[in-house]
């Protein structure tokens, strides 16, 4: 095989610091077909990080190198770390074949033992955290076996069709997350003297030390230790730790992907992420041309005019991150409101229909969304296989008269100031909770809606809350009247359809039902029959492998949801735009935008390259 490598690595090989390329990538590297053409080596890719809780941004660029991944179109699950996989017909047994000669970033071979270590000693042992439900089915943990040095088998007690999608999601990387030879030293099972290490590192306990050194999927310390061996295209040089001002990652000499010409990926030498605390300074960095690729943090519509104006100065173009479906803002009335009177009202379908008809969606879109958008309720777009017309488009017209008729029909008389009165005589006035810092346009939209609802005699107050308060109040406390949240959804495997079935803490229309579902009926409140039915169908869908069967089940869930019309919203979720430097090649014009995908990792940044060498110093 005539493989090629980056000049810097070639030098190191020449100096004898590294084994030759063939030994590093083994015999079965993944061959990537570049999007546009075979690239050239060099340069660095700059993207902006924020100082806190932005570790997933690194993940999105580096990619969650799990056993499998989504393809670029977000339609198919393809092998990744695994060379190939097989799924049994009953969707209970999953066999993964690993790559021969593949190595961790420090040169140690990667084998089935690593998978076993990850699963048995860490995940299933619950050593650090309880086993995620993702690795359970039918109330039992998955069984993991090593068939040979390069083959592992996962066996579930029950059918579990969504398992591959779960593995492809950024949360499903556990089976190949930790290098056994390195991380096992922090487990008492492997290292009886772990206490010494703990003391030397000034850590609280071995768990803490393990987390600090080896990280975990969703915590920043995953990027905090340059020593930790990984399977990623770039490895940490300057870590993401508290107070860091930048993160630098350099190419992994053992990375296991090559292009069609046999060049080892990644093309780009270095990831360089300056840390800005404030979004506005990120905008400035972009304008100044100090950022080569960025979607996250910059994608608010309000930034777009400035970014557009400065495209030449910053030397970037826009890249579209198209939404998978759904909407940017779902209004969730709290159907499980603590006050029975409100609960009764919110649970009245006609009331919700009236509110939906009472919104002048066109005006809101025109004003708050800069004219971009289309009236929409919920669910995937027209071109998506899961598209559900009724759910998406019912009650979209602006029809004050009908809304008033419905409300009058519910016996809600208007009081002296034009606000309707509840049966108890209280004015019909409720609050909608929103996080103002998150998507600022939500507040604007709500303000406009509030003015529109006033005309049908409904008083709504916008209640902006800091995000922790919001979360506490709406997702944990169930203390809200109503709340808004984003609702991008296409109901594909791995993604939670929280707006049509209340199974997640973002289903703010029925939090006690979520608790009931998650606790298996032990906590929360038993939901009504229609919700229970949807929960059942959803569980069934998750167990199903066959895409068509699964889709049919999800459509049934959507049918019920459309009938119930529990949540409603304003406009289609619009594509957001990121910026990408004009000199960067192999970057698609558009990419799906989703956490489960997660943007842009499946577009393979490791195959991006600098077409114009002067950029990306």
């Amino acid at each position: 095989q005539n493989a090629h490598e980056a000049p810097s690595l070639a030098q190191r090989v020449g100096r004898g610091e590294l084994p030759p390329l063939a030994q590093r990538i083994g015999s079965q590297p993944e061959v990537i077909t570049p999007l546009e053409r075979v690239g050239t080596y060099g340069g660095r890719l700059r993207f902006g990080l924020r100082g806190s809780s932005d570790h997933n941004h690194i993940l999105r660029v580096v990619g969650p190198q799990g056993l499998v991944r989504w393809d670029q179109q977000y339609t198919r699950i393809v092998p990744n770390v695994a060379r190939s996989f097989e799924v049994s017909d009953d969707a209970r047994v999953f066999t993964f074949h690993l790559r021969q000669g593949m190595r961790w970033s420090d040169g140690t071979p990667f084998t089935a033992d690593d998978v076993l270590f990850n699963m048995e000693d860490v995940v299933l042992a619950g050593a650090l955290a309880p086993t995620p439900p993702r690795y359970r089915a039918g109330g039992q943990n998955v069984r993991v076996e090593k068939l040979d040095a390069h083959t592992v088998r996962f066996t579930f007690a029950e059918p579990y069709g969504d398992f591959l999608a779960e593995l492809a999601s950024p949360l499903g990387q556990h089976p190949v997350l930790y290098a056994k030879h390195y991380c096992s030293q922090f487990l008492p099972k492997y290292n009886p003297n772990v206490a010494d290490l703990v003391r030397a590192a000034n850590a609280a306990d071995w768990q803490n030390l393990f987390m600090a050194r080896c990280g975990d999927i969703e915590i920043p310390s995953r990027w905090g230790n340059p020593e930790r061996p990984t399977l990623d295209p770039w490895v940490v040089r300057e870590p993401y730790v508290g107070g860091a001002t930048r993160v630098v990652m350099v190419r992994n000499p053992y990375f296991w992907q090559v292009d069609t010409a046999g060049n080892q990926l990644p093309y780009i030498d270095e990831l360089f992420a300056p840390i800005a605390q404030d979004v506005q300074s990120l905008v400035l960095e972009a304008i100044a041309g100090r950022i080569d690729f960025q979607i996250r943090h910059l994608d608010a519509p309000s930034n777009r005019p400035v970014l557009a104006q400065n495209r030449d100065r910053g030397g970037y173009r826009f890249v579209e991150a198209s939404s998978v479906g759904g909407t940017n803002m779902v209004i969730n009335l709290n159907l499980t409101h603590r006050d029975p009177e409100w609960r009764r009202l919110f649970n009245t379908r006609d009331f919700r229909v009236a509110l939906s008809l009472g919104m002048d969606r066109k005006a809101v879109i025109e004003t708050a969304l800069l004219g971009e958008g289309e009236p929409w309720q919920n669910g995937p777009f027209e071109n998506h296989p899961n598209f559900h017309r009724r759910l998406a488009t019912q009650y979209l017209d602006y029809n004050q008269a009908e809304a008033n008729r419905l409300l009058d029909g519910l016996g809600l008389r208007r009081g002296p100031d034009g606000i309707r009165l509840l049966p108890s005589g209280k004015p019909l006035r409720f609050k909608v909770d929103v996080i103002p810092t998150l998507q600022p346009e939500q507040v604007d939209m709500l303000q406009l809606i509030s003015q529109q609802w006033r005309r049908i005699g409904v008083a709504m107050d916008v209640n902006p809350l800091e995000r922790t308060f919001f979360y506490q109040r709406t997702s944990e406390g169930n203390e809200h009247d109503a709340a808004v949240w984003g609702g991008q959804a296409s109901w594909v495997p791995g993604e939670i359809p929280q707006q049509i079935v209340p199974v997640h803490h973002d289903s703010r229309w029925g939090i006690p039902w979520v608790q009931w579902y998650r606790s298996g009926g032990a906590q929360g409140e038993e939901p009504p029959a229609s919700v229970r039915e949807r929960m059942r169908l959803y569980d069934q869908a998750r167990a199903t492998v066959d895409p068509d069967a699964r889709r049919a089940l999800m459509i049934r869930v959507a049918d019920i949801a459309a009938e119930e019309f529990e949540v409603f919203s304003v406009s289609k979720a619009l594509p957001t735009y990121g910026i990408v430097s004009t000199g960067l090649g192999n970057v698609p014009q558009a990419m799906p935008s989703s956490w489960y995908y997660p943007t842009p990792a499946p577009t393979l940044p490791q195959a991006w390259f600098w077409a114009t060498p002067q950029r990306g110093r």
Binding site: S53, I275, Q277, R467
Partner: protein
């Protein structure tokens, strides 16, 4: 005796700091939820989803499900042994995170303090002595414009101007090559070259207020009979001013020293945030917002200690410059 006084004050700081730590711990915990709630909220806000089961497990591991006093005790007993605990967010010992940042913060605060005094003193004296002169009006107007503009807005505008018109970056405290370099002369010079921008941003409003305070207090002293006496001795107006009325007008200045420092540090938080300064401000803010309580607690405790020292210095100086107050 001064020594006894200082010793008494220092002894007093111990229970004081304990009380402060208790209250600040309570304040950190006052917002609803805990680190994990905010962790989940933040991730959810970025479009990332978080695993609920993990949260529960972590909550237990961090002891966040324990009663307040138990948690406090866990923390403070560690602190007393020099162990500030672990930052939840970064999984690192807090002590590793704070020192360098705190050092830079102190640098910045010191710079700002010097700048403020260097500006406020002469200008304040000038505007008192030449009351209602053009210079006085100019100083007043500019001062108030500075005061009426949020610091971070100035920062933002400066950054914008820097980028658009000069193509240069005004944020941060170090050039790229020095960011993670070990300390050296070059790095110090680099720091100084970057420090002046935040110093000016932070210093404008505080110098504006000091100017006004100086002016007000000086105006009160300028006509006192003892000033005339001094004038009759043949002192030059300048020496006269400095030695007599200014010295008395210093009283409020000195009273402020006590908290100028910690306040500069905590007041700079948002500016530092906008300018992405590697000072303690942004980290403190994150820690607070994220309810990363040991980290936040350590910062607060440090700031409190600074205040206590500042107060001590301020009290001693107060006694030095005004014998009427001496140990009353």
């Amino acid at each position: 005796m001064l020594l006894a006084f200082i010793v008494r004050r220092i002894l007093w700081t111990v229970p004081f700091l304990i009380a402060v730590s208790l209250v600040s711990f309570a304040l950190i915990q006052a917002p609803p939820g805990d680190y994990l709630t905010s962790f989940a909220a933040t991730l959810a806000a970025s479009g990332d989803e978080v695993d609920q089961g993990r949260l529960e497990a972590l909550r237990e591991r961090y002891g966040l499900d324990q009663p307040f006093l138990v948690q406090y005790w866990r923390w403070i007993s560690g602190v007393l042994q020099g162990d500030f605990g672990i930052s939840f967010e970064w999984q690192q010992p807090v002590a590793n995170l704070i020192w360098e940042r705190m050092g830079l913060s102190v640098c910045l605060a010191l710079g700002t303090l010097l700048f403020t005094w260097a500006v406020a003193f002469p200008v304040g004296i000038y505007s008192a002595v030449r009351k209602y002169s053009i210079g006085d009006y100019v100083a007043t107007t500019f001062g108030f414009i500075g005061l009426a503009t949020p610091n971070f807005l100035i920062a933002l505008v400066l950054m914008y101007i820097g980028v658009i018109y000069f193509g240069s970056d005004v944020s941060g405290l170090f050039s790229e090559e020095y960011q993670n370099a070990p300390w050296s002369w070059g790095k110090v010079l680099d720091l100084l070259a970057h420090l002046w921008i935040p110093v000016i941003i932070l210093g404008t409003s505080s110098s504006a207020s000091l100017i006004r305070i100086m002016r007000a207090n000086l105006l009160d002293e300028l006509h006192k009979p003892y000033v005339v006496t001094a004038r009759a001795k043949g002192l030059s107006e300048f020496t006269l001013l400095m030695r007599y009325p200014v010295r008395l007008a210093l009283n409020p200045f000195v009273s402020t020293i006590g908290w100028a420092f910690p306040q500069l540090i905590s007041g700079a938080v948002i500016t530092a945030f906008v300018l992405s300064l590697p000072t303690s401000g942004p980290l403190l803010l994150q820690a607070l917002l994220a309810q990363d309580m040991y980290l936040a607690g350590a910062f607060i405790l440090l700031l409190c200690s600074l205040t206590v020292v500042g107060m001590l210095v301020s009290d001693i100086l107060l006694a030095l410059i005004d014998p009427r107050v001496r140990y009353q």
